[in-house]
Symmetry: C2
Subunit: 251 residues, 2 copies
DNA sequence: CCGACTTTGTGCATGCGTTCACAAGCGGTA
DNA sequence: TACCGCTTGTGAACGCATGCACAAAGTCGG
């Protein structure tokens, strides 16, 4: 990856003007898929695969081949017609577009069950996201190392975040604390937040929030269960008047 | 799946024919938002609020008011013009559409850090999703109760899932095990899967999978960090020739 | 060197989701 | 009862994303 342009290059790779325009134009949905392609490609590279066609890659990523090619075209033309894509080349270009050539220091707030799990994830999946700070309010936790990092008190959040240049904050607190934690992160200069608390966060425009909401996910699945069950019931009604699990459906 | 529950139904509410057609037509994106509205409404109900306008609710849920009204219109017309919506009425209708009047037994596979966190979540956020089975391969874990449920061996997955009428399977295993676990869940009749493993699962058409992918979420945030930083650099170039963190940008 | 075959990259059409804007409907008031 | 102000519900326009289908461009065999 990466790219030693200039002289004192460390981690960050500046984008060429052409890339910059492209990055602006990439649809959000495509960005999410690029991350998936990247993982699949990394797996392939580990197994010694050097070239791949859009057809193969799309199957492995679980998407339409045309969609995959369009997604890749957003970041440039790095394939060879008649052949396919070079795995390494693709990996490095996706990493560059996703900003993975730069390190993103992560802070986890709320060291409960979930916070523990996150802190122990070990440098976070797909490295490049070192967890450098942990916060909680529980006095018994302060100073205790979790996953190698000692827990700081939440009141120190601003100082610690600034000092360790935290660029991504992860909220894993109970719901009532989430908004207040969020506000503190924002005032500490954190502009990207991953929220696990089942709360709709209010943030200024310049802050990006993504939420992972278990309750919502479960309820979406529940919706599909219900829909399926109901369709089945609808079909079976007229046969025996009974739904899928013996439930009586009114005529 | 499923089956033999007797006659006198306990929890499930069958949908009226009109509702059934509606349920089919609700866009996936709207379903996700309905779950959010439900949570906000529940919170309001707990605080004694009995009526709410689309404007208030949409603000609390962080969406456009028009979108909220359209989302609600998918499930029927339960508002009063000139007044707003009755909180309780709305709650019960959303619950019905999302299938929350029925209980969804949940199985968690992979009792590592994340699995522990999930099992201890305590009946899962927004009750209605009792965790009734836990699975792992580690002999030291088998039989040990986590969050009140003893861990079963993964080889017993089919029998246990059938017996406990599991309708939602949660995969929290290491990546290499995920597909195999998924296959076993499917053959045990589980039709809805929530996947935390960073793997693209291959499933038959009749199975619904939702994935929660931390790496992808982080990378999407990373993309935004990079885009922001790059825009900032682009602006500052021409001023002092330096990017955001003192990085040299070529002229 | 040429022609056949393969696979990319993309213009275009289609469909879905979001947003706007307004008529319809309801409660309150005189 | 008739009017007025407020809020819902929704038709219609718009914009984004997906999928199709094909020309462009490359490789490989002869």
């Amino acid at each position: 990856m990466a790219s030693q342009r200039g002289e004192g290059e460390t981690t960050a790779t500046p984008l060429e003007p052409a890339d910059r325009e492209r990055a602006r134009a990439i649809p959000e949905a495509a960005v999410a898929r690029l991350a998936v392609y990247l993982r699949v490609l990394s797996g392939m590279a580990d197994q010694g695969v050097t070239a791949v066609s859009s057809e193969e890659l799309s199957q492995a990523a679980g998407v339409n081949a045309a969609k995959l090619r369009k997604d890749l075209s957003y970041i440039g033309s790095y394939g060879t017609r008649g052949v396919g894509y070079d795995v390494e080349v693709l990996v490095s270009h996706i990493e560059r577009i996703l900003g993975l050539t730069r390190n993103h220091s992560v802070a986890v707030v709320g060291i409960g069950n979930l916070g523990h799990a996150l802190a122990n994830y070990g440098g976070f999946p797909g490295r490049g996201f070192p967890v450098t700070a942990l916060f909680d309010v529980d006095p018994d936790l302060i100073g205790v190392p979790v996953g190698g990092i000692p827990v700081s008190h939440i009141d120190d959040i601003t100082a610690v975040c600034l000092e360790r240049e935290v660029s991504i904050g992860v909220i894993a607190t109970p719901p009532p604390a989430a908004q207040s934690v969020c506000d503190r992160l924002v005032s500490a200069g954190v502009q990207c937040i991953l929220n696990f608390a089942p709360v709709v966060l209010q943030v200024p425009d310049n802050v990006e929030v993504r939420k992972v909401d278990l309750a919502v996910e479960m309820q979406i699945l529940s919706f599909h269960v219900a829909r399926r069950a109901d369709e089945a019931a609808h079909v079976s009604v007229g046969n025996n008047g009974l739904g899928v699990d013996g439930m009586v459906i009114r005529p």
